[in-house]
Structures are given as structure tokens and as C-alpha cells.
């Protein structure tokens, strides 16, 4: 039987486990609440056009609400506007739109803060060695998409490095940075980038990675040259594989985000809105609902509140 309420979920890509789990969470919740969920995704990180098409198609099927993790938070705005004009509730998930009020509500996580957290932890862990740290930055791709930039810059800020323009990667002049390379967010890219940066400077001892798969790849490269214990790897995401990597000492610390929770909250909010017209409440003191970040590590440092990998494994998203 077709239900009254149709909710669309548009994720950035359909291969990244982060979004796959988000989708699964949304599906479960939608079933609980008796909603019909339609899922869409971009075809690559940064794919705006497919997301625009998804919004149009959702308008055409008469969706009640759209949850979107925007690949390009600025470029998607006109399409979102059209949806809202058609009476659809649009909730930005994971990534706030720019401007943020382009969406009816935002349930997101602060990627800059996630980066900052692991940056601070890395600095604290190194202690006095911070001054002559050798840092490798493993980013996503050369396109400088928002998450990539925010996590990268957040890490550097947290580590105590002057970042100049927070929208631009690589304008730092700090000599401790060995270099930036790109990983496509996958293991093979992580390994290749790590190998190449190690060739430039074999004494690298801090590795920032944009996500956990690239961290796992970087670890393989380090293992191949026997430096895996001399290097601190930090990452962002909080997938179960990543948390297990923290437990096993592959990753020093990772900033856990909560995609499933975002999806669940988003679907609930959509259901609530369609029943009562009530808008979701933002977190206190913020313009959006923040699902937060937690630092997962088994080696607390610098007094930063942390969650152990054992606890982390109970919360991780997949």
C-alpha cells in the first residue's frame, strides 16, 4: 500500500560506507514510521548535477520531504529553493547548505571541528616533539570539495598551524608539513600517497587522513617500510572498521561522526513535520542540530574528552 508520506534521501555517493549506512538507517526508521523512502545519490564526490536531478524527480513524485547531503552546498541551493517553493520540506544532512538557511532545517556535523579534534589530539600526543613534527596530509581529491577542505584545515588549526584562508588547502607555509597528496578516499590511493610522501621525507611521523579507508592504505605503506610504530595516524569518520583500527593500533585517533543518527533524526523530523508541521529544533546555541563528534582513541592526551575504542565499537555506524 502506498503511504501518504514520501521522503527522499539524497546522499553524496552510493559507494562510500558512510552514506550507505546513513541510507540503511533511514530505511529502517522510515519503515518504523510507515513512510515511503526514496533513495538517490550523486555518482561521485562533488557530483552536483545528479543531485539536482534527484531533487527534480522527487518533486515530480510529490515527495513530502527531502533529506540531502549536498555535494556542493552552494550550487545545490537553487534546486533546493525550487523544492521548497513546491512545498517540500528540505533538511540538509551532514553538510550544511551555504547559506545555511537555504534549507528548512539542518542536521549536521562540523567537519572542521572533527579535524580540529584530531589535530589537537595529535599535538598533545607528540608533546614536545610537536615542534619538529613531520606531517603528511592525505586529502580526498584535487577538487577541494567542502568536507575535504574543512577536515584538512580543522586538523591543521587543531595541531597549532597557521592556516591562512580556511577555504584553501595548501596555502600554509609551516615547514613541518611535508606535503599534501590525494587518496580518492580509498585504500589504494592512501597507500600510494603515503608511499610517495615517504619518498619525499622518510621521517614523517604524523599522518592526517581524510577518512579511515585511506588511513588503512597509508598504514600498509608504512608497514612495508617498517615505520608503522613510529608514526601517528589520525582520521575522521567513525566507521566500525576504523574504530577497530584504533583498537588494533593502526589509527591513533579518529573523530567519530554519526551518519545513522543524522538519517534517523532527519526521517523523524520529516515525519513529525508532515503530521504536525513542527520544525526540528536546532541544538542550543547553534543554527542547526549538531549530532556532534567524538574522539575515539585508547591513548587519551591533553585532557581532551575521549571515548575508548571498546565503547566506540558499540556506537560506530557500520
Amino acid at each position: 500500500a502506498r503511504s501518504e508520506t514520501t521522503v527522499g534521501l539524497i546522499t553524496k555517493s552510493n559507494t562510500n560506507p558512510f552514506f550507505v549506512k546513513m541510507r540503511e538507517g533511514a530505511e529502517v526508521t522510515a519503515k518504523e514510521l510507515g513512510l515511503e523512502l526514496r533513495t538517490f545519490s550523486g555518482r561521485y564526490d562533488g557530483d552536483n548535477d545528479t543531485q539536482v536531478q534527484a531533487i527534480e524527480n522527487l518533486i515530480a513524485v510529490g515527495a513530502t520531504a527531502i533529506l540531502i547531503t549536498a555535494n556542493d552546498p552552494q550550487a545545490i541551493v537553487p534546486a533546493v529553493q525550487r523544492a521548497r517553493e513546491a512545498g517540500v520540506l528540505v533538511i540538509a544532512i551532514d553538510t550544511p547548505l551555504d547559506p545555511m538557511d537555504a534549507a528548512d532545517a539542518t542536521i549536521a556535523t562540523d567537519n572542521f571541528k572533527a579535524g580540529e579534534l584530531i589535530g589537537r589530539w595529535a599535538a598533545a600526543t607528540l608533546g614536545e616533539r610537536t615542534a619538529d613534527a613531520r606531517i603528511a596530509m592525505l586529502n580526498l581529491n584535487p577538487n577541494a570539495i567542502t568536507v575535504d577542505v574543512a577536515r584538512d584545515q580543522g586538523f591543521l588549526r587543531g595541531f597549532g598551524i597557521e592556516i591562512h584562508d580556511p577555504n584553501v588547502v595548501g596555502d600554509e607555509t609551516d615547514p613541518r608539513i611535508v606535503g599534501h597528496d590525494v587518496t580518492q578516499g580509498a585504500e589504494e590511493g592512501g597507500r600510494r600517497a603515503m608511499e610517495n610522501l615517504l619518498q619525499r621525507d622518510p621521517s614523517i611521523n604524523v599522518v592526517y587522513t581524510v577518512n579511515e579507508p585511506s588511513a588503512a592504505g597509508a598504514f600498509e605503506a608504512l608497514k612495508a617500510v617498517g615505520r608503522e610504530h613510529a608514526v601517528t595516524i589520525v582520521s575522521v569518520d567513525g566507521g566500525c572498521a576504523g574504530v577497530a583500527d584504533v583498537r588494533d593500533g593502526v589509527i591513533g585517533a579518529t573523530a567519530m561522526q554519526f551518519p545513522v543518527q543524522m538519517a534517523v533524526l532527519g526521517v523523524r523530523a520529516a515525519a513529525e513535520w508532515s503530521r504536525t508541521g513542527a520544525m526540528p529544533e536546532p541544538s542550543p546555541g547553534l543554527a542547526f542540530y549538531d549530532t556532534g563528534v567524538e574522539l575515539i582513541t585508547d591513548r587519551p592526551a591533553g585532557g581532551i574528552p575521549v571515548t575508548s575504542s571498546t565503547d566506540g565499537l558499540t556506537k560506530c555506524w557500520g
Binding site: 562533488g46 534527484a54 524527480n57 550550487a75 584535487p142 577538487n143
Partner: protein, 324 residues
């Protein structure tokens, strides 16, 4: 009777894919519910295929010469970024910005053409290389930053003109879609009713023979790549209209998608055989499949699966129709 049918398909090589298109529409009308077969939704499909359709025109011309252009997506984005930056950030008059954007497209295409003809390198390698180059230029010139819709609206509404839509029998047709249809018409005329068109076919079919009969194949190739570049720039303009803003991230799958439309439309990747109308139909088939699947509410994962399967089925059906 059979004789007549044969003759019909021989005379109208695009009839077979046309029938496939109709079949696809009919099936989705049955499966995807009444929302699918509505003027509004069908015009949506037209809007959704505008970009790939425009790039498909350029790609068809190039593939007919036995070439391939992997840089169409990059040229498109670069042109749109140039238009946006000039008009919004540097305050150029919008018309001048558009003109320079088109000129950039022509320049990019000409670069491809010059390398292909002067150095005699395989177009695949040349355009793969320039694809990297143009994308890097695009990221550098745009500083990887999106130009927001609101800013364009206030500074240079002409850039968004291609996105303006008009009501036509309950359908909403955008200027961009009309531009696409227009360019398909022009390309069709040029290929079928001008000497240049015949030379394009001859060059792709048998370059040695074309040269021996006195066709300046290098000039033909150069003109095709340059014209292709301009059409890509038009696609860039249409892209601004379509998404409202200028995004340097766009267009990564555009190369593959445009080639797909060309091949589904029955044009041979070996050159010399095919038609530009086929490409339009090819683009529409893919658009219909994606839109229809979306309306049926299939999970994204299985949507991709189904798109893959249906593309094969569509082309198989097309071949089968031709053979009976």
C-alpha cells in the same frame, strides 16, 4: 510489406532507436504510475538531458571522424567558470563574459584539433591529456569555489537565461533545452545537407580515400574539434542556467555519459557511420531510464543495476528491430 519495412528502416536509420524510446516510455508509463507520463515530468526529462545532449552533439561530430573527445566535460566546466568569474567577480558585461566563455571553448577545441592533426596522436590520448589540463586550469581559475546563484542573479542574469523556462501545454521547457534541440537541428542540417558534413563522414570512414579525392582532412578535423569546443561552451552556459550557480566540480561523468548517448544512438566508435539525431534519442533513452527508475522508487543501488541492464536491453532491442 516486409520490403516496405526494410526500406523504411534503411531510409530512416534513426527509426529503430526511436521505437526503442517509445517502448521505454510506454513501459515506464505502465510501471512508474501516472506521475511519469505527464507533460511536466517529460519536460523534466528533457531538461535533465540538456547538458548531456549538448555535449552529445559535439561528441557525435568528433566520433564521426573516428575520433573521441574525453575533454568535453572539462571544456564545459571551464567555459562556465570563465563566464561566471568574468561576469560576477570581475564585473564584465554579461554578454562579453558569455562571448569570452564561448571563445575559451573554441580555443580548447582548437588545441585538441591542432594536436590531433599536427602531431598525429590518437585523439584518445590527446583529449585525455587536455582533460587533465583543462580541469586543472578550471580548478585554478575558479579557485575551487562555487559562484552562488544569488550573486549571478544580481550581477549577470544573462548567464542564467538558459535556465529560464516557459510553459508549453503544461510542460516547462527551458531555453537551454530549446538551445539543445536547435543545435541538434543545425548539426543535422550540416551533416546531411552541406559538403562539410559529407567530408566529416568521409574523413571518419576512410581517411586515406578522403585525402586522395581531395578532401583536406586536417582542416575537417580541426573544424570539427573547434566547433565541438564551442558547443561544449554552450553546454557550459546551459549548465549555469540549469543549476543556477557555477560549480567547478561539475561534469566528471559527462565524458562517459556523452559517449554513451552517441553509441546508444547507433553511431559507430570507428567513425563514418551514425547520425546526430540518434544521439538525441540515445540521450533521451538514458534520461527516460534514469527518471523512470527514480519514479518507481527503486533503491539507488538497484537503480544503477537496472540502468546497466536496461541500457543493454535497449540497444539489443534496437539491433533486433533493425534485423527483422
Amino acid at each position: 510489406m516486409l520490403e516496405l519495412i526494410h526500406r523504411f528502416f534503411h531510409r530512416n536509420p534513426t527509426a529503430a532507436p526511436g521505437i526503442v524510446l517509445l517502448v521505454a516510455v510506454a513501459i515506464f508509463s505502465a510501471v512508474a504510475g501516472d506521475r511519469f507520463f505527464q507533460p511536466f515530468n517529460l519536460s523534466l526529462v528533457l531538461q535533465q538531458v540538456t547538458i548531456i545532449g549538448l555535449l552529445g552533439v559535439a561528441q557525435t561530430l568528433i566520433i564521426l571522424t573516428a575520433g573521441i573527445d574525453l575533454s568535453v566535460g572539462a571544456i564545459m566546466v571551464l567555459a562556465s567558470v570563465v563566464m561566471g568569474r568574468l561576469a560576477v567577480d570581475f564585473g564584465w558585461p554579461p554578454a562579453a563574459a558569455v562571448a569570452l566563455g564561448l571563445a575559451v571553448g573554441a580555443a580548447c577545441g582548437t588545441v585538441n584539433g591542432v594536436i590531433v592533426t599536427r602531431l598525429r596522436l590518437p585523439p584518445f590520448i590527446v583529449t585525455l591529456g587536455t582533460w587533465n589540463v583543462f580541469l586543472a586550469l578550471n580548478l585554478w581559475y575558479s579557485r575551487s569555489q562555487t559562484i552562488r546563484s544569488q550573486d549571478i542573479e544580481s550581477a549577470a542574469p544573462l548567464l542564467q537565461w538558459t535556465g529560464r523556462s516557459m510553459e508549453l501545454l503544461g510542460a516547462r521547457v527551458t531555453v537551454g533545452s530549446l538551445l539543445m534541440v536547435l543545435l541538434f537541428g543545425v548539426a543535422w542540417y550540416a551533416l546531411n545537407w552541406s559538403a562539410w558534413g559529407k567530408h566529416v563522414y568521409a574523413t571518419g570512414d576512410n581517411p586515406q580515400a578522403a585525402q586522395l579525392v581531395g578532401i583536406r582532412t586536417n582542416r575537417v578535423l580541426l573544424s570539427v574539434y573547434a566547433v565541438g569546443g564551442v558547443i561544449c561552451a554552450v553546454a557550459g552556459w546551459a549548465l549555469i542556467g540549469r543549476i543556477g550557480s557555477v560549480s567547478p566540480q561539475a561534469g566528471l561523468t559527462a565524458n562517459l555519459d556523452s559517449i554513451t548517448a552517441v553509441v546508444i544512438g547507433g553511431t559507430s566508435l570507428f567513425g563514418g557511420r551514425g547520425s546526430v539525431v540518434g544521439t538525441l534519442i540515445g540521450a533521451l533513452i538514458v534520461g527516460i531510464l534514469r527518471n523512470g527508475l527514480a519514479l518507481t522508487g527503486v533503491d539507488v543501488l538497484w537503480q544503477e543495476f537496472a540502468v546497466g541492464l536496461l541500457i543493454i536491453i535497449a540497444v539489443a532491442l534496437d539491433q533486433w528491430i533493425r534485423r527483422i
